[in-house]
């Protein structure tokens, strides 16, 4: 009789511990998925930028007849960014594209007719929004990483994280306006 009670109590404690571990594990998985989602959102927005550029070039061509070189640079940078594989290469290509785009918009300043064109203004709004989205996606990614890493480091969730091999994610660091590199992210 006494032994059964003790056994039952031990069993109950074990069940509680198991449930607790499951809870923390699920929390960690949810956070890791949030990090992953935030990361893929950056890719979605980068692709959006690639898709907008042919439109931009097409609209601007009619007004900027003497700027072949500028257009070529943009198209080239865009194709490079589209083809790039691997975080390092991609990072370099994207920052090249950003550079080409900002050069392009400097040149646009000399064409008031183009700037006033409704169609061009629309594309410019889309492009600006896309740049914003890329920025916000990176920001959201960093926020997600922050929460995830905190959880991995802090007691008691660090025990569960250690048990199931959750590893910290890297922040998206940018040292200056020209985004130097895309950091490696590993999802275990």
């Amino acid at each position: 009789m006494g032994a059964t009670v003790i056994l039952l109590v031990i069993l109950a404690i074990l069940v509680v511990i198991a449930l607790w571990i499951v809870g923390i594990f699920n929390g960690l998985v949810r956070l890791r998925n949030a990090v992953k989602n935030a990361w893929s959102q950056i890719d979605v927005q980068l692709k959006r930028r690639h898709d907008l550029i042919p439109n931009l070039v097409e609209t601007a061509k009619g007004y900027m007849t003497h700027e072949r070189e500028t257009f070529e640079k943009i198209t080239q940078a865009r194709n490079l960014a589209q083809k790039a594989s691997g975080p390092a290469e991609q990072g370099a290509a994207e920052s090249g594209l950003s550079q080409a785009l900002s050069n392009f918009f400097v040149v646009v300043e000399n064409y008031p007719d183009l700037k006033a064109n409704e169609n061009f203004m629309q594309i410019q709004e889309e492009l600006t929004s896309t740049e914003n989205r890329i920025g916000f996606a990176r920001q959201a990614y960093n926020d997600a990483v922050m929460v995830f890493n905190n959880k991995i480091e802090m007691f008691p969730s660090n025990i569960v994280a250690g048990m199931f091999n959750f590893t910290k994610s890297d922040f998206f660091e940018i040292e200056d306006a020209a985004e130097r590199e895309v950091p490696k992210v590993s999802f275990s």
Binding site: E131, I134, A140, N142, V147, F172, I174, A177
Partner: protein
């Protein structure tokens, strides 16, 4: 945000439970006051009086709330949007607003961007509604679209998105309906009392029963019922308001954190408070859902218990005291600075949610804002321990005139206007009432066919 959301949820449930008790209490009181008699039941020697009227009243009260709440829940945001007179728009109707909403959804990590609604009103306001982040909507007034620049609009939208991310919207809807139900029930009660004079019902009962002790007990209960009926609506509103004010601060903090640019929301709030175009179609129960209380607009709201929103000046001051920071911790610090230490009631869990970050610089097109922001935070430079905020290219800013025109076109499109572009550069906008088949361009005299009604 998960901790913050969970804490919010717990507090909401507690408050909802309390309000439900209040609602049932009011129902009971009303029922009891109308039908105070109870047949004595003989339960094995003890006589029991069952207040049938009270129980029935409770049932009715619950039903009144339940039916409305169910309707609001099942329709998601649609019912509330319809109640506010908001119309859903598509991306091509106002690309800038749509883009801003999508940008903020990304920053807040919402599973998908909320639907976008426009309220055809020139006052400046906005609100969010919905069941959860998957079924949510944001509504802004036409006045807001035409008066605010992109940064300000972004701040307001971020505030609304924060309400969605913090799961405020469902709670505010349900609690709002509850407050509405309580007010409605007591109003009906007092009207019934006025017309039928409950005391008169004694005419049909024997005089004797009201003379003995049992009658006195009933009278006391009746008085209690009356008091409850008077106090309950006030109490419900106080509860609701106290809670909604806390949520406003949290949403402001969210707005600053998502945009990393507190000045956007701050100057938007200032613009809104300087434009006291009152919106009279707003019901009392919905008022707390807007970014600034539309019913308090115009009057300098002092920080009273019955305010659904903290005073705008205070909200602005907190946002401006964030000292170039863009995190929850910065907001909490600013709040303490403005209202005295210990004022900030941001859950500790939220403070750990975001890395210490710098607010971003303003758009180059807004010289004044750029100067304030630049003074607060050098472009692209973050605190050493923190994560740098991505610096972004300046946004092409629409002039006030362009904004006004875009908003006007949006409203006209919603109202079935037809648009003709003449080759001479004139754009003709025809109202749906315009019945003539042809229209002559005032400038070049070209005759245009009028397109059929869309």
């Amino acid at each position: 945000m998960f901790e913050l959301i969970r804490q919010n949820k717990r507090r909401s449930l507690l408050l909802m439970g309390f309000m439900l008790l209040l609602l049932l209490g009011v129902g009971f009181a009303i029922g009891f006051a109308v039908v105070p008699a109870s047949e004595p039941l003989d339960m094995g020697g003890a006589t029991l009086y069952l207040p049938w009227g009270g129980l029935l009243g409770m049932g009715v009260a619950f039903l009144v709330w339940g039916v409305q709440a169910l309707a609001a829940y099942s329709s998601g945001d649609r019912l509330l949007m319809a109640a506010a007179g908001a119309k859903k728009i598509q991306k091509q109707d106002h690309p800038r607003l749509f883009n801003v909403v999508e940008e903020m959804s990304i920053a807040a990590q919402l599973p998908k961007p909320p639907k976008v609604y426009i309220i055809e009103d020139m006052s400046l306001n906005a609100f969010a509604a919905g069941r959860d982040p998957n079924h949510a909507a944001v509504a802004v007034t036409a006045g807001l679209l035409s008066k605010l620049n992109r940064d300000q609009l972004q701040g307001v939208v971020a505030h609304e998105i924060a309400h969605i991310a913090n799961r405020d919207v469902l709670f505010m809807t349900m609690a709002g309906i509850m407050v509405g139900s309580i007010i409605m029930l007591t109003e009906v009660f007092f009207r019934v009392m006025w017309y039928s004079n409950i005391g008169a019902s004694r005419r049909y009962r024997s005089r004797r029963s009201s003379r003995d002790g049992e009658g006195a007990a009933k009278l006391i209960l009746l008085v209690v019922a009356l008091i409850l009926a008077i106090v309950a609506p006030l109490l419900a509103q106080l509860l609701y308001f106290a809670c909604s004010r806390q949520r406003e601060y949290l949403a402001d903090a969210g707005g600053a954190v998502y945009t990393r640019y507190p000045e956007g929301l701050a100057s938007a709030l200032e613009t809104i408070s300087g434009n006291p175009g009152d919106k009279k179609s707003v019901s009392k129960a919905m008022a707390p859902m807007y970014i600034v209380n539309p019913l308090e607009a115009g009057q300098r709201a002092i920080s009273s218990l019955t305010s659904t929103h903290p005073p705008i000046e205070e909200r602005v001051r907190i946002l401006r005291s964030m000292g170039g920071g863009g995190s929850f911790a910065d907001y909490a610090a600013a709040w303490n600075k403005v209202d005295g230490a210990g004022a900030a009631r941001i859950p500790a869990s939220a403070l750990a949610q975001t890395a210490p970050v710098a607010a971003r610089a303003a758009n180059a097109q807004e010289p004044m804002a750029a100067i304030t922001a630049a003074a607060a935070a050098p472009v692209g430079q973050a605190s050493k321990t923190g994560v740098p905020t991505p610096s972004r290219r300046a946004t092409p800013e629409a002039t006030p005139r362009q904004r006004q025109r875009d908003t006007g076109d949006l409203l006209r499109r919603m109202n079935k206007f037809r648009f003709i572009n003449c080759d001479c550069g004139i754009r003709i906008k025809l109202p749906p009432e315009y019945a003539k088949p042809k229209v002559k361009c005032v400038r070049c005299g070209k005759i245009h066919e009028v397109p059929r009604q869309p």
